[in-house]
């Protein structure tokens, strides 16, 4: 990180951009899905379950952002968000299907 503006390869900069997008958007999706899943699974009244899920969402968001910048490559950052997001989406899909 010695010189921020000169001498860094384009690939590196694209990687940083990719991580930022992953953190902002991917992190949001994962955070929201975690909150939704928790709300669907905890045995609480609907409003209370939703509030609990939302409060958890923000914590997940922070961890997701940290993950995006801690892992070794931008690809892994995306993978680490997409896989749990898909799993959670599947769980929610099954729950929704079970309800209807």
């Amino acid at each position: 990180m010695k010189s921020a503006t000169v001498g860094l390869p384009v690939v590196y900069r694209l990687g940083v951009c990719s991580r930022i997008v992953a953190a902002a958007l991917g992190g949001y999706v994962l955070a929201s899905l975690t909150g939704i899943s928790l709300a669907a699974l905890v045995p609480l009244a609907r409003g209370e379950a939703m509030i609990s899920g939302m409060m958890l969402s923000f914590l997940v968001y922070v961890v997701a952002v940290l993950w995006c910048f801690a892992c070794h490559s931008a690809w892994r950052a995306w993978l680490g968000l997409l896989v749990p997001s898909l799993v959670l989406a599947a769980v929610n899909g099954v729950l929704l299907w079970g309800h209807s």
Partner: protein, 517 residues
């Protein structure tokens, strides 16, 4: 980012902190001022006199005023005077859709003959809306909060030996001193930082996470209100006129049910209609847990109690508790000052971080005649975001005293003065060398802050001689805080003045080793 976990976190801390630091500095400073919102309101409305508190009488006055001036409006909102707010506040959506917000004298019950000013409300709204249209300002402020949280956590990870280093302070060592100061203030107020940042997200959670609401409720929007804001569930208008019950009568019932508890926001729905409702919210100072959308709901014609709901479930208590801790309504004077100091600590942590980012990189270019453009840009942004903001804030206070009393659109003009001063300071910072810009802006700010008590005394006759003698601590407190802040800035200017620029300092250090430079 291949260097390992802690290096990666240091990178994140550095860059997220830089990019959002300027805005976060403004959010923290104006948010900190908001802990004394009522006191600032009092200072910006010096004409409004305090009267002994009498809730029932104040309710009667508010009701009389609203029945005369806002009959037929859909909703009325009333805020009663308390020990921090001397006036009655009434609000209602006007016929044109514009929200009327009026200040009544608690003695006469009529419009207070006071200067038009947003006062502390301006700083309060700025700190979460950033003067942007709804909802963009709130979204941007929330993004800042998330980045702040990320920066805090990555900062903790970066400073592994954080608690050990907390006891390390190396004064007069340039860059090291800034780092030690940054760490010390960061750790000292860390619980506050984490609480204030996380709670700000929780406050806006229903705006930030619409998907979560959709997943639970789908299209059943009324069910959301029933669950989260039960007091909103009031019947629609019957379109048959009926006189509104006396609010002070209801207040007597409220007092019997909960002796000693105070009223918060009072909401009257469909006043003058057969289906009128009255909602008595509870005062934020009575309980840490913030309870928006909860309260005692009365029939607005018969005065019968419909229902009374308070936050009771654990998740709601946690969310409401975080909300309440963020706002600090419950805090008495001592705790309020602690909030204020913690807020200043947070602001200082952000400021020292910004200064450090630049100082570290400038050192590398110390030998070259010109600094690279990006460093110049950061230098300008640093001056305008910190020095300039402090000038803008004090500019608002000066505008409050110096703009003519009767001027049309006065309160909007005060706000414009704030932004004009800020813009001018940015221009000044861009035109002057960084060190000169700092010296001049902080020097001017020191004069203006220290001079505020004098300005107040000259323009209103409510200077320290009178406010201290009368025990008007809100008025005196703003004056004294401005004076103290001015002195602090003067000290900073003196330090900066004596502190020779980096390149020279190095040579001095080399020639006279061991002596403090």
């Amino acid at each position: 980012m291949k260097e390992g976990f802690r290096q990666a976190m240091a990178w994140l801390h550095t860059w997220a902190g830089l990019v959002f630091g300027w805005l976060l500095f403004a959010i923290f400073l104006t948010g900190t001022l908001s802990y004394f919102k009522d006191e600032v309101n009092h200072w910006t409305h010096p004409e409004i006199a305090s009267h002994p508190l009498d809730d029932a009488a104040a309710l009667d006055k508010a009701q009389r005023y609203l029945e005369q001036h806002a009959a037929g409006m859909k909703t009325w909102y009333i805020n009663l005077p308390d020990e921090r707010q001397p006036y009655i506040q009434v609000m209602y959506p006007g016929p044109s859709g514009r929200f009327a917000n009026q200040i009544l004298d608690a003695g006469s019950g009529q419009l207070a003959a006071a200067r038009e000013s947003m006062g502390g409300e301006f700083f309060y709204q700025f700190h979460y809306q950033l003067q942007l249209p709804y909802p963009w300002g709130r979204w941007l402020a929330s993004l800042c909060a998330l980045v702040m949280l990320v920066t805090l956590i990555s900062g903790i990870i970066t400073h592994k030996k954080i608690f050990k280093e907390f006891f390390t302070f190396r004064p007069r060592k340039g860059q090291r001193s800034w780092l030690d100061g940054h760490n010390a203030v960061g750790v000292l107020v860390l619980p506050f930082h984490l609480m204030i940042t996380y709670s700000s997200l929780v406050i806006f959670m229903t705006m930030l996470l619409p998907g979560n609401i959709l997943a639970q409720y789908g299209k059943q929007t009324t069910a959301i209100y029933d669950d989260l804001m039960p007091s909103r569930g009031v019947p629609a208008a019957a379109n048959q006129p009926a006189p509104l019950v006396s609010l002070s009568e209801l207040y007597r019932d409220f007092q019997q049910q909960a002796p000693g508890s105070r009223l918060g926001l009072i909401e009257v729905d469909h006043p003058g209609d057969a289906n009128a409702s009255v909602v008595f919210g509870r005062h934020g100072g009575d309980r840490i847990v913030h309870q928006i959308g909860y309260g005692r709901v009365y029939d607005g014609v018969s005065g019968a109690l419909r229902f009374d709901r308070q936050v009771s479930s654990v998740p709601m208590m946690i969310a409401g508790g975080l909300y309440g801790m963020h706002m600090g309504h419950f805090a008495g004077p001592g705790l309020r000052w602690l909030y204020f100091l913690a807020g200043i600590g947070g602001t200082a942590m952000i400021g020292t971080g910004l200064v450090m980012w630049l100082g570290k990189r400038q050192l590398k270019h110390a030998k070259s005649a010109r600094q690279p453009f990006h460093l110049c840009l950061v230098a300008v942004l640093n001056v305008m975001s910190m020095g300039g903001l402090m000038l803008a804030v004090i500019g608002f206070f000066y505008a409050n005293r110096l703009l003519p009393f009767e001027l049309a659109g006065r309160s909007g003009l005060e706000v414009r003065v704030f932004f004009w001063v800020w813009a001018l300071s940015a221009l000044h910072a861009a035109l002057r060398p960084a060190r000169q810009a700092w010296l001049e802006q902080l020097g001017l700010a020191a004069l203006l802050y220290a001079g505020l008590p004098l300005l107040n005394a000259v323009t209103t006759g409510q200077g320290l001689n009178r406010s201290l003698a009368q025990g008007d601590w809100a008025m005196a407190g703003v004056d004294l805080t401005a004076l103290a802040w001015g002195l602090l800035l003067a000290w900073a200017v003196r330090k900066l003045w004596r502190n020779v620029p980096v390149v020279k300092a190095r040579k001095v250090a080399m020639s006279a080793e061991g002596e403090p430079t």
